[in-house]
Amino acid sequence: MANKKRNTILFVILALGLLLMFFASISLGSVMIPVKDVFTSLTGGHATKSTWEYIIINYRLPKAITAVLVGTGLSISGLLMQTLFRNPLAGPYVLGLSSGASLGVAFVILGAGFLPSFLSVIALSSYGIVLASTAGSTLVLLLVLVVSQRLRDTMAILIVGLMFGSFTTAIVSVLTYFSTAEQLQKFTFWSMGSLGNLSWPTIGILTTCVTIGLLLSAKSIKPLNALLLGENYAKSMGLNFKQARLVIIFATSILSGAITAFAGPIAFIGLAVPHIAKLTFQTSNHTVLFWSTLFFGSIIMLFCDIVSQMPGFEVTLPINAITSIIGAPVVIWLLVRKRNFQ
């Protein structure tokens, strides 16, 4: 079929694009490093300057890998939510999952002072933050799910997400009253979002969480296709709806929870990328959408990362600002052409 041929070509282009972006993200940065030295460092050789080698291996490579993990994870969780909620505007940020995760992290970072010292050490470790963040995002997702059972209206669910956002901000500002300047700084930096600063072991934790989330999402491809016709049709086609929904919720929570814990609340990627994939491939088939969302997610996240530290610039812009600048217009555009909502 013509579609199949077109899809194959598109996927080849996307794969090449991903390779290119990945390499570009490693090559570009505030320090100019010749392409040849980038290659030698990556392949285990010695670059002309040992500082270059250090920058590549311990700074840029982990950051590029984080960008790929964050981009794929958030985009896939957005895709799952859009189908589950039958809502084209669903996504981890818009539905307040990132806010929930923020709240969890805020309690841990800002509230650690209230805990006995041995507990605060555990809480502030990478595991503690991941747990708090995932718990926060799961809680919000469950609340949204309860609300969405009662309100079938698309917009009402989004407003509920917005309210969770405001609620979180309020709680966080209360917490800041009782926290030290140092804690506050730590939380503020976290909330601006950052792909750097991740050590190799923390990348290991993030990779594990994202892999679990992606495997569960892949398992949900068939249920998601059935859900395109709505819950009742899906059930009539033999879907165990409750079980499928549980798997989808768990997958989205672990993806957005773990990612938010390490990279901060990153806006719009989860909402915008699935739409870019849907528009490019002109399909609702989740087998195709799963892979295309994976590719688009990592490519766009790598692109945002490159923009956030333009060569020649001394400073690194917060990644959250970049994704919002790109993502917000996409959302407005989607709303405007709502007639053909996917």
Partner: protein
């Protein structure tokens, strides 16, 4: 050869709530045979949906049994039930960019593997379903680009692709004009005769149902009767359908007239 596909024995339908038990109908002994087009009629709010929900296994009966292919319906696993019973519902489809072909192909879900890949047999079944409903020319159109009448055919094709001996439709003729209502009725009639499936559907188009269905199930507050349309006319079952002195059933013309 005619065989019984679904039958109920001493079925009591209704629902339980905190306030107590509400019974809608008692002692139902319905029988749905292969190769027959059967319509379910009754006034609004009489409990047609409850009856359909009960015989499709979505809702538990108050007492009694529903047998699908001689097996109690509550004993079916979801996947197995999906291979024996398919539905066409009234609800609006959620937004998506499914093409007509993809939508019909979703009917193959009970047979596909975990990544939902269509085998050659699946593709053949989908094409057959689209041929029978005459929607092949729409295959690559998106489902939101076609008319209500065409969409209804697409949904029927999806149910056909699911390859079940019994198809149940909930008011498929609503929102259609007379021309499309008639063509849909004729399509359903043709399908029952060509595929030997049993098709049951609820409708408010009583005149058409009398002319085109093999059997009818009439729901009134007092009773639920199942018979051939001509028998139902001669024994006066239609007279009790609406509790209104201005609506009278004319047995000779076979339709309702407003007095």
């Amino acid at each position: 050869m005619i065989r019984s596909i679904l039958n109920t024995s001493n079925l009591n339908i209704g629902y339980k709530s905190k306030k107590g038990v509400t019974t809608i109908a008692k002692d139902l002994n319905l029988n749905l045979d292969s190769g027959k087009l059967i319509t379910l009629i009754g006034a609004n709010g009489i409990g047609k949906s409850t009856l359909l929900r009960t015989i499709t296994g979505i809702q538990k009966p108050l007492s009694g049994n529903v047998y699908l292919n001689e097996k109690e319906i509550s004993h079916y696993k979801p996947l197995e039930l999906a291979q024996n019973l398919s539905l066409v519902l009234t609800e609006k489809l959620p937004p998506s960019s499914l093409s007509v072909f993809e939508l019909v192909a979703l009917g193959r879900q009970p047979y596909t593997n975990w990544v939902d890949k269509l085998s050659n047999e699946d593709v053949v079944k989908v094409q057959e379903a689209m041929q029978l409903t005459q929607i092949e020319h729409l295959a690559s159109k998106k489902h939101f680009q076609i008319s209500d009448g065409q969409l209804q055919k697409v949904l029927i094709a999806r149910a056909l692709a699911q390859d079940t001996p019994l198809i149940i439709l909930d008011e498929p003729t609503t929102h259609l004009d007379l021309l499309h209502k008639v063509s849909l009725f004729k399509l359903l009639k043709k399908l029952t005769h060509e595929t030997q499936k049993c098709i049951l559907f609820s409708t408010h188009d009583i005149d058409l149902a009398i002319q085109l269905s093999d059997e009818m199930i009439i729901m009134t507050p007092e009773s639920i009767v199942q018979d051939q349309p001509c028998n139902l006319i001669s024994n006066g079952s239609f007279n009790n359908l609406f509790k209104d002195e201005h609506i009278i059933f004319d047995a000779e013309k076979g339709k309702f007239i407003v007095n």
